[in-house]
């Protein structure tokens, strides 16, 4: 049998704790940036949330978009956006949400289909009334908050509450920055994107749990080790599996991104970002945060200046600093 490739042959000695201020700064900028972008740009809501009409039409000959636009503009249904996509015969027609409730949306669809005539093949028609859009936004928000809380509670039960807080904050960080990315790129935010965000909440916790598990194990084994050293040791020991598990999931999502088609585009972008940022936050947020919230039985002083890499070896001095 051939020899497997081993990426990390020796356990590395990266000083994650020394980089923690750097990590916190980056995350603070990303989180605040995301919130600002969300406030200023807002999200490019798809019709799932904003309501309105999206029709994918395929014309028998190459689509004459400007002629179609002229026809549709005269219908008095407000702003109509036409956009070619895919082949030259494919047109995406977006009609803004019609004033006057749910029935008005339906009437507009009928008008559009009548105006374009019977030769056009309607590949898909999506109409979402204002009632549904509002409900979906509410359900989505509730689901996301519940997911964060439920995960924190689970981690709390499995570990200690300090771990729960760390896990929740880093997961919150991941979801906020994912929303921020969508506010920045203005990629359509729809139901599948929301599904991606909930999945990210579930998935980003994976690396965190792996690392926390190791931190706890190391805490039990080295009862007197300086906490900062202990976290570094745990992160380095699990680095290989952190990288490999992320890679396998990233491979699956990349193939969705490249081959999954238009509908799953937003989903795969969100997932890719979530996987990357979830790993980053496990290493640079979730783990270092434990240093500050200090689970029980921890040694070493909190709030000290970041230890130098040299302190990776426990010294007698740190032992006496146990609370």
């Amino acid at each position: 049998m051939f020899r497997p490739l081993i990426v990390i042959r020796r356990i590395p000695n990266i000083d994650f704790m020394g980089l923690r201020m750097f990590g916190f700064a980056i995350s603070a900028v990303m989180t605040i940036g995301s919130i600002v972008l969300f406030g200023v740009n807002g999200l490019n809501y798809g019709i799932d949330f904003s309501g309105g009409i999206v029709i994918e039409a395929r014309t028998p000959q190459a689509a004459d978009i400007s002629a179609m636009r002229t026809k549709l503009d005269s219908l008095g249904i407000g702003q109509v956006a036409l956009q070619g996509f895919g082949g030259p015969n494919d047109v995406m027609i977006r009609v803004q949400r019609q004033p006057g409730g749910d029935q008005a949306q339906e009437n507009a669809v009928t008008k559009v289909k009548q105006a374009l005539g019977p030769d056009v093949d309607y590949r898909s028609t999506n109409v979402v009334g204002p009632t549904i859009g509002a409900e979906l936004i509410r359900a989505g928000t509730i689901a996301t908050i519940l997911a964060l809380v439920a995960i924190a509670i689970y981690v709390w039960f499995r570990f200690e509450w300090q771990f729960g807080i760390g896990a929740m904050l880093s997961t919150l960080h991941d979801t906020i920055t994912t929303v921020g990315l969508f506010a920045l790129l203005q990629v359509e935010f729809n139901l599948t994107t929301l599904a991606a965000i909930l999945t990210i909440a579930g998935y980003s916790i994976n690396d965190t749990v792996v690392i926390y598990d190791r931190v706890r194990e190391t805490m039990r084994r080295y009862k007197t080790m300086d906490f900062s050293t202990l976290i570094n040791k745990s992160l380095n020991e699990t680095l290989s599996r952190t990288i490999l598990t992320v890679s396998t999931t990233a491979l699956a999502v990349l193939s969705l991104f490249f081959f999954g088609g238009q509908v799953l585009h937003g989903f795969s972008i969100a997932m890719l970002w979530g996987i990357v940022v979830g790993t980053y936050s496990s290493l640079f947020i979730a783990a270092p945060m434990l240093y500050y919230i200090r689970p029980k039985g921890v040694h070493g002083r909190g709030g000290e200046p970041a230890p130098s890499p040299a302190s990776a070896h426990p010294s007698p001095g740190t032992k006496t600093g146990a609370p």
Binding site: E106, Y154, N206, L244, T249, S255
Partner: protein, 523 residues
């Protein structure tokens, strides 16, 4: 504990085998599967409308209108009762959720009370200090009417859709007052929507020939009358009529309605039940020479003269019908009237070729994902990577089998869920293998490294799977349509991967150990 009891081995192998057997039909076309011998499983996973093409309509029943109609009828009933018993009244009308009336002679209260209670026993009477009586339906009665309106609507919707000949339509209640309709294969549901958009309440009402239609249009109608517009404006015919509110007969007394032709014009012939026939005969006998209006959904289709009494309980409705509109009206009359108007609040329809494109794209990304992950595992873990890949194969099969057997619907986001769980399934293998590597590095023996690897990684694997399941459960609970489809495959995938990554992999490693008695672990 690197030892499996025989029954456990048998169980694991059986689950894997069943997974493969029940997945198999999905790899073939439906026709091929049908031709298989009888003992073979033939169930295929059902595809969502976004993959097979079709329409999804979410309708909302306007339950408020049921109550509004009810109160209006109560006012009519009360007026009739008051007039019949010669009680003077002022300010009779609907006010919000109740009816109010003021009697000129307060001592007649009991008479009015008795008359109304006979009509509707579920009313609460209150008398204000100025003598105004309010009649308010009880909360339970309102709720009961709402529920039955929705139930009845579902029944009528089902009948109408059945009449159109749409096959395999699903019609089900969604939440409190919504109806979800799925029409596979119908990618342009305009006709169905048009049929469902009509309440189809048919009544025959006498035209009040003493009142002027122009006055009526301006809102001045004699008490007990109403002004109704004509269905369409035709030259030489009035644009509206003042008619008696009280219907002579209504559509619920029809037993049949068929489109037919009369003098080369499309018309709708109808047949009354015995009660309807008797009522119709009496009414037409009394009113020969007068006009009666055929009213559909508060619009007058036509208002012919009664030439002679109609005794047979049969007749035709003429109006300016086309063949299509006559057959639609006949269908609506046969299926019955909706108790309340329906509004389409969400519509999603997908043509069959877009669905086929989505299946292709989804399958391609899954296959590419599998190939990448399989290669990745072989490159990084060699023989153990192959073990993981074999487990991954069985994971896929068991997952598809579970989706098939549970009758879950596979959607495009569902396929994304499958692709995602492929990547996450081998995560468990990575956790185990990395742990084994560590233990080997730590100087443990071969057996004890393997053992420690499986044991220590288990807790971590469980944690990460549970958190993903939490997210999946929430998506299923709170999500709609596409999110639900994704949640189902994600959750099932996470569960099956727990089985395959841990048990199937371990079984392979144990078998390999006993067979080859290796000295070193090749990872």
């Amino acid at each position: 504990m690197l030892y499996f009891q025989t029954w456990k081995v048998a169980l694991i192998l059986a689950v894997c085998a069943l997974g493969v057997i029940f997945t198999l039909p999905n790899a073939f076309s439906t026709q091929t599967v049908e031709s298989w011998p009888g003992f073979f499983p033939k169930h295929q996973v059902s595809l969502g409308l976004d993959l097979r093409g079709g329409s999804y309509l979410l309708l909302e029943v306007d339950t408020a209108s049921v109550e509004r109609d009810r109160l209006n009828n109560l006012v009519d009933e009360l007026r009739t009762a008051l007039i019949a018993s010669h009680v003077g009244y002022t300010s009779l009308g609907v006010a919000g959720d109740h009816v109010s009336v003021k009697l000129t002679d307060a001592s007649k209260y009991q008479d009015v009370h008795d008359a109304v209670v006979k009509y509707d026993p579920d009313l609460q009477f209150t008398t204000a200090s100025d003598g105004t009586i309010t009649l308010k339906p009880t909360q339970e009665a309102v709720e009961k009417r709402r529920q039955s309106a929705v139930d009845q609507s579902i029944e009528i919707v089902r009948r109408r859709i059945d009449e159109t000949g749409t096959r395999e339509a699903t019609i089900q209640r969604e939440g409190d007052k919504r109806i979800l309709i799925e029409l596979p294969g119908v990618s342009n549901p305009e006709h169905v929507k048009a049929l469902l958009g009509k309440t189809a309440r048919l009544t025959f009402q006498m035209v009040d020939q003493n009142a002027s239609a122009d006055e009526g249009r301006a809102g001045h109608v004699p008490p007990g009358d109403e002004y109704l517009p004509a269905t369409e404006n035709r030259p030489g015919l009035p644009t509206g009529y003042v008619v008696k509110r009280r219907a002579l007969v209504s559509g619920d007394m029809l037993t049949d309605a068929q489109p037919t032709f009369q003098e080369n014009e499309p018309v709708v012939s109808f047949k009354f039940d015995s009660v309807g026939a008797r009522r119709f005969a009496e009414a037409t006998k009394e009113n020969v020479g007068k006009l009666f209006a055929i009213v559909l959904d508060n619009k007058v289709i036509s208002a012919p003269v009664i030439r002679e009494p109609i005794l047979g309980g049969q007749g035709v409705i003429s109006g300016s019908f086309t063949a299509q509109s006559a057959s639609d009206l006949a269908l609506l009359l046969r299926a019955g009237a909706l108790p309340a108007p329906l509004t389409v609040i969400e519509e999603r329809s997908v043509g069959p070729d877009l669905g086929a494109d989505s299946i292709r794209e989804g399958t391609t990304s899954c296959i590419v994902g599998v190939i990448l992950v399989v290669l990745f595992m072989i490159v990084f873990y060699g023989l153990f990577g192959i073990f993981a890949d074999i487990a991954l194969f069985f994971n896929l099969c068991i997952m598809m089998a579970a989706l098939t057997l549970l009758g879950a619907t596979l959607t495009l986001p569902g396929i994304a869920g499958i692709a995602l769980t492929l990547g996450m399934a081998v995560d468990a293998n990575v956790l185990i293998y990395e742990r084994i590597r560590e233990e080997v590095r730590g100087g443990r023996s071969l057996i004890s490294s393997l053992q420690a690897g499986f044991e220590r990684a288990f807790g971590t694997i469980l944690d990460s799977h549970v958190t993903t399941l939490v997210a999946g459960a929430l998506m299923f609970w709170l999500g709609s349509g596409p999110v639900k489809g994704f949640a189902v495959t994600l959750s099932i995938g996470v569960l099956t991967s727990l089985f395959s990554a841990i048990l199937v992999t371990r079984l392979q490693i144990v078998t390999w150990l006993r067979r080859f008695k290796p000295k070193v672990i090749p990872i």
